[in-house]
Subunit: 209 residues, 2 copies
């Protein structure tokens, strides 16, 4: 592994574990047993490290969203898709745990993050509409834009919420609960036959949380 | 107005407008045209000011929740109740806009805030159950704990979410949208006749956002 990549990985781990605001570039160099000078050779400072990490996250999620657009997904595929998005967020959870603060300090990231959120809402809305078209969701009840906003909102704040009310909870439980939470937003709109599938999925998740 | 109360009011205004992390006790004294020494005579420091503000918020919300427990509320009263809670949060929005950061720095507030969130979820759950008992919500569909968690989650993160996606939006629009968002969580569970009431309420709110 190249030093540059090791720096990014170490920074990501420390940010996730200690909170981004509590970690300096010197901490990162110390953790890797390299000199701060060596670190500065690769990155001008913490901001540059964070921007690189954000780029990884941004392109990872954008790719996931893009895949979902071309694939024809069943209701079950959608649950899996939510799960994968949660895992991606978990990998870069330091952004989410101290979101307002980070976005206030890094304007470039703030701009890109807002664009990503909008793209996410748009994609989820398209997915909801395709569920309406295949009659999985009841057309007369659901407002796909509202539902998409709700789902995106849950994705955005699920980790800080769990950290607030269940500190120290295991990460797979947090993700299962998050998927359950989102399922429970969609289920009331499911048509009868799909509701059976949805409810059995709900009970599978319920047994894990 | 006593100096002590003026300090609290000035601090609250500055925290809400500039963000708590960007305001010092000297800023507060300057804004009031008093000496920092005079401010320190009333409050030992910023932490003490924030704790006093938090106490105002905490007891205000606790009182609202308590009232809701004794009152017999119709579906319409509930909407009004949500609206009033949002207004209370708006008054002390600086807590919510930079929540994770503030809770990390002030442990006493963190403890009390978590207790308040749990109390809020419990009260909302009781309200949902009373809506089920009076047949306003459909018993077979709704899980009142899940719904209560969802509503509480929305109350917690609505302001940071709006600040992220709609910076500069007027506050009454933000609150109307928030009430609409929560209504849209409840409506799918409403029984047919109440759904008509609920949907007409939804369209009233929709015309305001």
């Amino acid at each position: 592994m190249k030093t540059r990549d090791r720096i990014l990985l170490t920074a990501l781990t420390l940010f996730n574990e200690e909170g981004e605001q509590n970690v300096t570039t010197v901490d990162i160099a110390n953790e890797m047993d390299i000199s701060p000078g060596n670190l500065y050779y690769h990155f001008k400072g913490k901001e540059s490290i964070i921007e690189n990490l954000y780029s990884q996250y941004d392109s990872g999620v954008a790719q996931l969203l893009k895949q979902s657009e071309i694939a024809q997904m069943s209701l079950e595929d959608h649950w899996y898709f939510i799960y994968v998005i949660f895992e991606e967020i978990y990998k870069f959870r330091f952004f989410y745990l101290n979101q307002t603060d980070i976005l206030q300090r890094y304007h470039d990231i703030s701009r890109r993050f807002k664009r990503l959120v909008k793209y996410k809402v748009k994609t989820i809305e398209t997915l909801c509409q395709s569920l309406i078209e295949t009659n999985a969701l009841n057309d007369s009840l659901v407002e796909s834009q509202q539902l998409a906003e709700n789902i995106s909102f849950t994705l955005l704040y699920w980790f800080p919420y769990q950290q607030l009310i269940n500190p120290g909870e295991e990460y797979d439980k947090i993700i299962h609960k998050g998927v359950y939470q989102i399922l429970s937003l969609i289920v009331p709109y499911a048509q009868l036959e799909d509701r059976t599938i949805a409810q059995s999925l709900l009970s599978i998740y319920h047994s894990r949380i």
